[in-house]
């Protein structure tokens, strides 16, 4: 009897660990790219991103995706031009994948390596720092991805024959909740 109890105590944490998969779901998000031109400073904003995270055996994998055409800069003509430049009809989704240790999900800052698919190209960004603020079961993440047009072989859109700057930093504000 004693040996069975002992065995149960030994195996219980293993069983708990095996069932300890956690899932994260993206509640709200604001993704905005910033475009600089000698005549313009434009922000294209999307609230249409969806995301999911799975943590297993101490490692978490996250996937966030948004339709390219969901980015709105306040002018249809400009957005269609950007949709063309990013080959958004042929590759309609911008997809972000990241993975880090589960311990990182409780730290005030998250240092993430990102893999981003856009315009049929994949680019990797190392050590992108996100601020994390916890509120009960929800977590708010903010940060900026230092994206550039050349990372995705995007021909820089031009206006009045002058192209925009290569840098198109993407500001990220997301609220996740643990399921």
């Amino acid at each position: 009897m004693k040996s069975r109890l002992l065995l149960a105590f030994v195996l219980l944490p293993v069983a708990v660990e095996a069932q300890a998969d956690t899932q994260w779901l993206l509640d709200q998000s604001t993704l905005s790219y910033h475009m600089s031109h000698p005549m313009h400073q434009v922000d294209g904003v999307s609230h249409a991103a969806k995301g999911k995270g799975t943590c297993h055996a101490g490692q978490c994998s996250f996937l966030i995706a948004a339709p390219v055409k969901s980015f709105d800069s306040g002018d249809t003509n400009r957005d269609l031009h950007m949709l063309d430049a990013t080959r958004g009809a042929q590759f309609p989704m911008v997809v972000v994948r990241t993975s880090f240790s589960e311990a990182a999900t409780t730290a005030p800052t998250i240092d993430a390596d990102l893999e981003i698919q856009l315009a049929g190209q994949t680019a990797h960004y190392s050590h992108v720092v996100f601020q994390r603020v916890s509120d009960g079961n929800s977590v708010r993440i903010t940060g900026t991805i230092p994206a550039t047009c050349s990372d995705f072989k995007i021909d820089r859109p031009s206006f009045l024959t002058v192209p925009i700057k290569n840098e198109i930093p993407v500001k990220v504000e997301m609220t996740w909740h643990k399921m």
């Binding site: 999911k52 994998s61 996937l63 249809t76 003509n77 269609l80 049929g120 050590h127």
Partner: protein, 318 residues
């Protein structure tokens, strides 16, 4: 002999099946191609390129080699997530995750770097592209996020429409800007413009030379304007697009400067004839100047509208 008819029919059906099956299969697969290069952009010939289906999808593992120009092509890939890597000439790429969609031909270029460089800590390689993040188990897929296949599938036809639209609107924009030069000159050289004469005196009445130059400028303006307008009108429309922002003003103002650009030359020609006959323009011809000013103002406003919000950086204090 009559017994052979069903056999022939069966053979024909089998033949059709053999022809159609690969076509059906091909319609559901895609070809991934690209170029393998080193950090300096030099193509890597005969590099080994391996693609493996991500865990959880149909097991696929294909290995191909690049040609003399570093190009590779992997046909018949089913939709899904894959991991691709390449190696050759002592160089290797990181494993890259790629999602194959329904688009028939997809491209992905591969960057091969020296092994030592790949092992550098990521912070020594700022920004992108750098090392791929370590693979993690049970990565969610796009389907898990709840996007419909309609949202995630590419549309090559729509992309072609967008490209054609951009090409035509770029020409429209360039010609539109060029049009402003003769337009401004025509406004300045208008018969009643207070130009300076040879001796510095103010010319208040039109001269023949002044009229001819003005008419020529007006003609050039109209020709450029209508060529530019053609490219805007003929540019393909993108379906399911709700227009908003400055483009709406830009298009609305065309209803002012468009008719204006028709009426201005007509009234101008009438005024020109009357002036040449020694008469003072009367009636509709007398309105030529007013119509021209309204047209030019609407044209300028249309350029401002499509440029809005204007943000001159050099006006800002650092």
């Amino acid at each position: 002999m009559p017994l052979q008819a069903p056999k022939i029919l069966f053979a024909l059906r089998l033949l059709m099946l053999c022809i159609l099956l690969p076509l059906v299969a091909a319609a559901q697969t895609a070809t991934l191609s690209g170029t393998a290069t080193d950090a300096k952009g030099k193509p890597i010939a005969n590099a080994s390129v391996s693609i493996t289906a991500a865990a959880g999808t149909e097991s696929v593992s294909v290995n191909v080699h690049t040609d003399a120009e570093g190009n590779y092509s992997i046909p018949n890939l089913a939709q899904g997530d894959y991991s691709i890597s390449a190696s050759g000439e002592g160089l290797a790429s990181k494993a890259i995750k790629v999602t194959i969609t329904s688009v028939a031909h997809q491209t992905l270029d591969l960057l091969l770097t020296a092994e030592l460089e790949q092992q550098k800590p990521a912070q020594e390689l700022p920004n992108a592209p750098t090392a791929a993040p370590p693979p993690a188990p049970a990565s969610p897929s796009l389907e898990d996020l709840g996007f419909s296949s309609q949202q995630t599938q590419g549309n090559a036809q729509l992309q072609a429409t967008l490209e054609k639209r951009t090409r035509m609107l770029k020409i429209h924009q360039k010609l539109g800007l060029i049009t402003t030069i003769p337009m401004v000159a025509a406004v300045i050289t208008g018969p009643m413009a207070k130009a300076k004469g040879k001796n510095g005196e103010v010319i208040k009445e039109p001269t023949t030379a002044n009229l001819d130059v003005h008419a020529a400028l007006g003609g050039v303006t109209a020709a450029l304007y209508f060529t530019s307008a053609y490219f805007a009108i003929a540019a393909p429309r993108v379906p399911d697009t709700h227009k908003h922002g400055g483009i709406r003003w830009h298009e609305a103002l065309a209803f002012v400067h468009g008719p204006g650009m028709i009426l201005t030359p007509i009234s101008g020609a009438m005024a020109y004839n009357q002036e040449n006959n020694g008469q003072k323009p009367t009636g509709f011809a007398a309105q030529h100047g007013t119509i021209a000013y309204v047209t030019a103002a609407a044209y300028g406003a249309a350029i401002v509208a499509v440029s809005w919000p204007i943000h001159w950086k050099f006006w800002e204090k650092k």
